[in-house]
Subunit: 410 residues, 2 copies
């Protein structure tokens, strides 16, 4: 039996629906990968008594609980107070936490507001979790059968705190048998298209198949028992890998560190010592934005005039224009590769959620042109994002020697 | 006192984090706009006893509960069974529900699988909620103090069922007084800085103050009773508005439609018939990406060489370079306004999460230059996003006649 874990989210913004609680889903997946069974999520607002009741209930029924939110400096941040009252402990001033909070403001050349002092008050006997990403330290403690971990609700602080501090601690504190998770990351296939491609694969009953369609990729997840034989695991992954083919840009869980598409492109661009210039249209700068921090991106531009002058072109003319543009950009001596993205139909086609958008991507390397065509559909922001990914994916396909001609509706 | 409402989501895909529970947030907002106070969200998986316990708990503490999920035809869809056991009622075959389920399959030219018969079994005395969007009918019933509403978990079925059937029913069943919500949207101030600025405002006890720090803005929210006097409401909002000053880019809830920063800029750029060219560095195309679909954005570019050539400049040299660049871009006859963003320290300063980034934004209109300096901190992606927003915000400030010289750490 795995130990049980509950997720507890605190904040009026969650119960009032102002914020969708993505922390709960993220933490649940992490907890399951550690080897916990997640039994319940609960969100409550800023009523002290509600928090106290919930903490007491959870302390009786779960082995572990991860709580997010309510650690801020303001009067509606009540988590520490609720813990103190529920578990009958006093709040104590933590000198080291206070120094860290002050240092956070010093690094930003700001005076610490008096309200932030409150964040250094921790329940008696709690273990502090240092927060290098924000002002609120987390903390953890045991009450009854349950090990409680309290983290800030801001995802950009919560996630690194969990990964760097909480997870390693949980793995030693509990006897866990983490399942083996393999994730195939694809771009260019929807969930039902993936289902079709893999429908003939025999999946053993003790392997769990799941999907996650996010903004950056679609993930096909295979969850294996902790002691699932390595050989059988590899064989099944390889079947999936063959079925999904060159749509896969990365496979996570087989030892290599993976991340998003730009991260995979970065590995290869750096290894091959290449540089890139980009001309964007439908993605409006978003392709470049996805490459933030990578210095192989030499140049990126968006021009409204280009959208207008190409809006009525037929496919051949559009391709010729893209090629001509790519050659012009290639004249920059710092550039070894050029990506040009064009679309037809003008801005009306981009804005109208009921109209699909034909996106042409052209890659120029030396004297060689490569191209893909995609129809992207959905809201304007979805089309923008898909266009950014699909144009960048043409470069990934080249770098991985997985170039194909696609003409596919996304 | 508003009646209280809880949200109850059923499904393994929710507790395991495979699916982010967007239903809970959507239903909460709807419920609050109806005049309920939402007190809690709970998600549990497919364990019958967990469902029974939760239903009993909720029946004692809430006036209303909206439950989603668990109404499907398969063995892990246990909601009706849990209701029957928890509230001691038998399950009864509902002839009309069965006819509707059969008709659903007939319309799709399919034979109804035998498992779907289960969906016509409803708890004794429950009121059926006809579902024209799928096979599972919803139902509602009262137990103890609580009015329970059970809906399918698929958002495309749940939402129309709620809006067409549940909401009108709730509005007659409860005495509801929808509150008035005013949201002040700011860029350039953190939550604690906002707290400092408003600390001297006397907030009446019956007005609820809340904050929401998102990636696109920081929101200060004032929730007023349904019958709060308009004059007093306006007076309080105006006090907040004066305290937060030109950091406010939009106020929602006073009649005008608002959205994100680019939306506000769009209103003004369109009204004033202006066009814009942008040179980005730290934001790597993200400023342009935020303006997707707006055709006043004539041109946007990112150049790595610019980051390199400016990395060792002192503030005066950086400003001179930005101005010279802005003049060059201004030569384009289609452009009436130019934004240039530069930063010092080079890409190392952008990448290192422990290093702050000094971002200079310059706006050129005709012969006039305007500038802001900001120190942005945090992860690389946070710095990128803040840089995009703060540079665009300089334009917003000009368009709203709210230009100031800022030298502020964000």
């Amino acid at each position: 039996m795995n130990p049980t874990l509950e997720i507890f989210s605190q904040g009026e913004e969650i119960v009032t629906g102002q914020t969708v609680d993505t922390n709960a889903a993220w933490l649940s997946q992490e907890a399951i990968h550690c080897g916990f069974t997640v039994t319940r999520h609960t969100a409550v607002g800023d009523k002290l008594q509600d928090l106290i009741n919930l903490l007491l209930d959870i302390s009786k029924r779960a082995d572990c609980c991860i709580c997010t939110g309510g650690l801020g400096p303001t009067s509606d941040d009540l988590t520490a107070e609720a813990v103190a009252q529920a578990f009958n402990r006093s709040l104590e001033f933590d000198e080291i936490a206070f120094e860290q909070i002050k240092a956070f403001f010093v690094r930003r050349n700001r005076v610490m507001p008096e309200v932030n002092r409150k964040q250094a008050m921790l329940p008696q006997t709690a273990t502090r979790i240092d927060n290098a990403w924000g002002t609120a330290p987390g903390f953890s403690l045991k009450h009854q059968r349950c090990w409680f971990v309290f983290l800030p609700g801001v995802p950009s602080e919560m996630k690194p705190l969990f990964l760097d501090h909480v997870k390693p601690d949980l793995l030693t504190r509990f006897t866990l048998q983490p399942p083996q998770l393999v994730t195939l990351k694809t771009i260019g296939l929807g969930e039902s298209a993936i289902q079709e491609l893999i429908k003939n694969i025999q999946i053993p009953v003790d392997v769990e198949l799941g999907f996650r369609a996010g903004t950056e990729d679609v993930q096909t997840k295979l969850l294996f028992r902790f002691d699932y034989p390595k050989l059988a695991l590899t064989a099944l992954v390889s079947e999936f890998s063959q079925s999904l083919g060159d749509y896969i840009f990365a496979i996570d869980g087989l030892g290599e560190v993976t991340d998003d598409l730009a991260f995979e492109v970065d590995k290869l661009m750096t290894a091959k010592n290449q540089t890139l210039a980009v001309v964007e249209t439908a993605s409006y700068g978003l392709l470049a934005a996805k490459c933030v921090g990578y210095d192989w991106l030499v140049k990126a531009s968006y021009e409204q005039a280009l959208v207008e002058s190409t809006q009525a072109l037929n496919p051949t003319e559009l391709l010729d224009t893209a090629k001509r543009l790519a050659r012009e950009v290639q004249e920059n001596p710092r550039v070894t590769m050029v990506l040009v993205q064009l679309y037809s139909g003008g801005q009306a086609a981009l804005r109208d959620k009921n109209q699909s958008l034909g996106v042409l991507s052209v890659l120029l390397i030396g004297e060689m042109f490569y191209e893909t065509h995609h129809e992207v559909v959905g809201s304007m922001k979805r089309k923008q994002n898909q266009a950014a990914l699909l144009t960048l994916d043409l470069l990934r396909r080249h770098l991985q020697n997985r170039l194909i001609k696609t003409n596919h509706c996304i």
